[in-house]
């Protein structure tokens, strides 16, 4: 007896077979006349310069990390979503606390500017300046020169 997941496996095999058979049929009837020009990489008619296999700046490295966290979270929440009604308000609150913790994490990322396309420069508060201002504030008669 095939299980339900066995049927899914048959689906995958069938999809692969479908592609293989269509490619095979096309191979029987299509011509093969490669020339030097045809075999060039397409770059709008220009000669291709260099290789595309270079170090590539993926801007959303941090986003990928957040995605990972969120995806795991969703996986954890699916069983909860089915059963929380059995536990009433407590079951609901347990899930919500978990969600809120994640939301705080995301708010932190947002505040840090990791969700921007061009990441802003980190705005590190300069402690010495703040202290100087605080000390300088009481004596309003004489403003400090290096403001």
């Amino acid at each position: 007896m095939l299980t339900e997941f066995g049927k899914i496996f048959v689906f995958l095999i069938f999809a692969m077979l479908f592609v293989a058979i269509s490619i095979f049929i096309a191979r029987l009837i299509r011509p093969t006349r490669p020339t030097k020009e045809k075999l060039k990489i397409y770059e709008c008619g220009e000669e291709a310069m260099g290789t595309p296999w270079i170090k590539f700046n993926i801007r959303f490295y941090v986003v990928a990390l957040i995605f990972l966290i969120f995806d795991v979270e969703v996986v954890l929440l699916f069983p909860w979503a089915i059963t929380y009604k059995d536990y009433g308000i407590y079951g609901f609150l347990v899930g919500i606390i978990f969600l809120v913790v994640l939301a705080i994490g995301m708010a932190y990322e947002w505040r840090k500017g990791d969700l921007e396309w061009a990441r802003p420069k980190p705005n590190i508060p300069d402690l010495s300046k703040i202290l100087k201002k605080k000390i300088a504030q009481p004596e309003t008669i004489e403003p400090s020169a290096d403001n």
């Binding site: 096309a26 299509r30 990489i41 969703v74």
Partner: protein, 355 residues
Amino acid sequence: MYDFLVDLIGNEIIAAFISAALPVVFIVPFVIFGVLMERKVAGHMQDRLGPMRVGYHGILQTVADFFKLLQKEDIVADGIDKKFFNFAPYLVFAGSYAVYAALPFSSKYIGADIDLGIFYIIAVSGLVVAGILMAGWTSNNKYSLYGALRSAAQIVSYEIPTALIILSMVMLTGTLSLAEMSEMQTAYFWNWNIFGGAEWSFTKLLLIPFMFAGFLLFYISSLAEVNRTPFDMPEAESELVGGYHTEYSGIKFSMFFLAEYANMFAVSALVSVLFFGGYHSPIGYVGNTLGLEALIPFEQVFWFAAKGIFFVFVQMWLRWTLPRVRVDQLMTICWKYLIPYAFLNLLIIGIITLI
């Protein structure tokens, strides 16, 4: 359907293969029709006629295109990583075809009636991302690489709002199986989830606005998941030629095309199952009034296809209505708007279901 085939043929493996072949019988005519529809919709929206030459009003245009693609030369350019380049179409098509295993076409036909249904669909559509990245990276082409990376970032990001909305629907219905979810929305259209589900109570009224919000969020993120305009950066033809399938030609290219249209129908079908009653008729069955029980499954397939094709039509409509967004705007829409709203929707629906 599978049990029926087992009784008919007597061999489980052959029955499973026939049962697995049925979606292809649906997909191929759908793609032939869908490509024509895309061109006709595009034409009429821009005050043109679209293809007119092959057959009456060009209805055989896609069939002719298919035969043309079949006999095109297959060019594998120099410097391409051949092994993976040839394998990518398999992966992309298998990924989008596996989704059809869990879609209930009617109460009698579902490829694999697993309890995990929708969870499985979220998981298996990840295969498509792997295939696209493979196609883009091995093509030895800068356009392909850019297209593939954009596409992967986009599909991966928009999976989260999609999953959150699905989660809220799971909280409402209490099941992951798509067949059960459709069965819950039986009879007339006011029992659909978008109108608050089949239960008549005070909560039904409360749910309606949040169901509409959920539907909009889900539809927007599903547009991005299948790379349709306004989120079609991966294939932005004015900047990236063809995106990740620039270097593909002939039948391999058409496999990507087939997978793309199959995906379009799959997400539209998902929208209809989650919010619009799946395969159920909005106005009752002809089979019931005539007393013909055997007619009902065919009617259900008709309604399932009609709802799916309607949402595919809306996708095409949006393509000629909205301009393409920029890459940074795309990410902003996902992370700063869709995800917080989806969160909020989830919380509110959770509270309402507890009442």
